[in-house]
Amino acid sequence: MIRLSANPAIDTVIKLVAVAMLMFAFVFVVMVPLYNVLCDALGINGKTNGQAYTSAQSGVDESRTVTIQFVATKNDGMPWAFSPSHTMMEVHPGAVNDTVFLARNPLPKAMVAQAIPSISPARAVEYFHKTECFCFRQQPLDGETSAELPLQFIVDRDLPRDIGTITLSYTIFDVTEMAGAAVVAR
């Protein structure tokens, strides 16, 4: 053992204070990032990563169809109208599919929203690729206007055969305050 002080008690104290400080840092530099990595890897909470999928699929698997359910939820205090244009889609794995979500800001002021995706079952997360999604960034909307929010996705050809239905849920949050004036002004 390295001695950090001639006084053995002080030596113990220094080491233990270091341990305590490391454990405090551990929360921020290990636990939080590790949790996010695990979420991505295991699909915890059906969380998907925020990046567009860029790889290509080797053709379309016409032999089977997968049902995609769309669900829209508004978080507390979010006054927008927000709903999928189709509640359900039948798609082939490997094919590129497009749909839109409809949003309307009924208030007379500009607002910014952030949609948070969540996929169920969690096992399906790694096989559901979004090539374009309104959830990748915050969505500003002027007062009393509507918008079609686009979503483009591919279901992976390797999706396990026993998964017949994938539910994609978006919860929309009011982040006007968080986004600050810059985005509103845009």
């Binding site: 008690a9 551990f26 929360v27 295991l42 915890i44 909470n45 978080n75 948070i116 968080m178």
Partner: protein, 526 residues
């Protein structure tokens, strides 16, 4: 560090500036008892409201403040400081040290506690009331949806954590550096061992709790989104961080209790502790396992099945070392020469009731069954069996056991036994029926309930009042002993007691072991 050869200073200054481990231990014990009464008072309000269905006494938001403060005060204000107090009094005497390694830090770690709890209790009178998200304060109820008191609450948790960490560092430094010559690790009394392991747990996890509340603070005031989905965070992350602290915390509370029981049962069995080595190893394995089972508190959050299975198996494993401990205690009693003074009665009470709590703990570890038990009164019953019958009963036993040594006066045995029986009956009447209502579907933390739960809740409330009242008897007995108890002068107050603390004069002088005692190398651990 002052002059060692005088007695205590006079007046208030003695207590404010003392660096004497016995004085500080005494202050910790009185403070924790005061908190026990306060937290108990909140429990009485809860049980009074739940006496019958309907809202009678308090409004739901106040009820939630009561459950939250009851939990926080009992865990952080009553149980933890009481064992720190016991450690202060006993560890130097048990290992033959003149005092704690860091006497001045010892003073600070105590004196930051009372103002902190005063602040925490004062949140009751703030606008929006005291914290009301439960002692587990899950986000976002405790962040986005909390009142202004959350900031004070976070500050309080930080200070409590600091106090615990300082106390633990002191204990570790004392045990590692201040043992009398010949007092090897495997000769230390089990109470010292369990506290050493507990102190390491505290140093490891209190900073994690500090991290959790720091993230809350940043979410509330500085616009981060650790626990809010809107900014890319996740409320479930809070639960993971909290329980990464919270599960070891449960063992922080119970391990010193194991230590106390391991001192007292041999004394009244007049027979050495059975399986000392395995006790040490079992304690260490429980401490290790406590770091890899946290998510069994969160089976219902929707973890992947692989995670559920891992945490289920790991949790079930804890039954093995815990079982070893219970078997060892029973074997210690086996073929001893037993007597049943008050400390022993409380230890036997501990043994029975803690084992029941352990069984329900095992049941709770089974994930599919836990989907039914989770957040029901079954859980409330379970953790009160381990917290109250485990920690509080053993603490009570410890007071009766060592009080004569501390003050040189014997408590009233009849009153002590009466206290035990009233406590034992009151406790079981309170918490045993809670298993039933939990299994029948009553969720925890509700101020009002469906009619089918009425009978058992009334029983439970009556039991709680009985248990609460029995503590007044306890308080009276302790004060009467200190003021006018029958003087005792035997060094060994109890016939079967073993250990260095029983080799000093009774009452224990203000300074003990200023020259290290001689440890008989052949002498087994006590």
């Amino acid at each position: 560090m002052g002059d060692h050869h005088h007695g205590p200073a006079k007046g208030l200054g003695r207590w404010l500036f003392t660096t004497n481990h016995k004085d500080i231990g005494t202050m910790y014990l009185w403070f924790s008892f005061a908190m026990f009464i306060l937290g108990g008072f909140f429990a009485m309000i809860i049980r009074a409201e739940l006496f019958q269905p309907g809202l009678q006494l308090v409004e739901p938001e106040f009820f939630n403040q009561m459950t939250t403060l009851h939990g926080l005060i009992m865990v952080f204000g009553a149980i933890m400081p009481s064992f720190v107090g016991l450690a202060n009094w006993l560890i130097p005497m048990m290992i033959g040290a003149p005092d704690m390694a860091l006497p001045r830090m010892n003073n600070w770690s105590f004196w930051i506690l009372p103002p902190t709890f005063l602040l925490l209790a004062s949140t009751l009178f703030m606008e929006g009331g005291a914290p009301q998200a439960g002692w587990t304060f899950y986000a976002p109820l405790s962040t986005t949806y909390a009142g202004p008191s959350v900031t004070y609450f976070i500050f309080c948790i930080h200070v409590l954590g600091l106090s615990s960490i300082m106390g633990s560092i002191n204990i570790i430094a004392t045990v590692m550096n201040m043992r009398a010559p010949g007092m090897t690790y495997m000769k230390m009394p089990l109470f010292v061992w369990t506290w050493l392991i507990t102190a390491f747990l505290l140093v490891a996890v209190m900073p994690v709790l500090a991290g959790a509340v720091t993230m809350m603070l940043m979410d509330v005031h500085f616009g981060t989104s650790f626990f809010s989905a809107a900014g890319g965070g996740d409320p479930v992350l809070f639960q993971h961080v909290f329980w990464f602290f919270g599960h070891p915390e449960v063992y922080i509370i119970i391990l010193p209790a194991f230590g106390v029981v391991s001192q007292i049962i041999p004394a009244f069995s007049r027979k050495p502790l059975f399986g000392y080595d395995s006790m040490v190893y079992a304690t260490a394995s429980i401490a290790f396992l406590s770091f890899i089972v946290w998510a069994h508190h969160m089976y219902t959050v929707g973890m992947p099945v692989a995670g559920e299975l891992f945490f289920m198996y790991a949790t079930m494993l804890i039954a093995v070392p815990t079982g070893v401990k219970v078997f060892n205690w029973v074997s210690t009693m086996w073929r001893g020469a037993l007597t049943f003074e008050t400390p022993m009665l409380f230890c036997i009470g501990f043994l029975i009731l803690f084992t029941i709590g352990g069984f329900t703990g095992l049941m709770l570890s089974i994930a599919p069954a836990d989907f039914q038990y989770h957040d029901s009164y079954f859980v409330v019953a379970h953790f009160h069996y381990v917290m109250v019958a485990g920690a509080v009963f053993s603490m009570t036993a410890a007071i009766y056991f060592w009080l004569p040594k501390w003050c040189g006066r014997m408590y009233n045995e009849t009153m002590g036994k009466t206290h035990f029986w009233i406590s034992f009956i009151g406790f079981n009447l309170t918490f045993f029926p809670q298993h039933f209502v939990g299994l029948a579907g009553m969720p925890r933390r509700i101020p009002d309930y469906a009619l089918q739960f009425a009978d058992f809740n009334m029983m439970s409330s009556i039991g709680a009042f009985i248990y609460g009242a029995s503590q007044i008897l306890f308080l009276y007995n302790v004060i009467a002993t200190i003021v006018a108890g029958k003087p005792v002068s035997d060094k060994k107050v109890w016939e079967g007691a073993e250990g260095l603390e029983w080799t000093v004069a009774t009452p224990a002088p203000y300074h003990t072991f200023e020259t290290p005692p001689k440890i008989d190398p052949a002498h087994a651990h006590s």
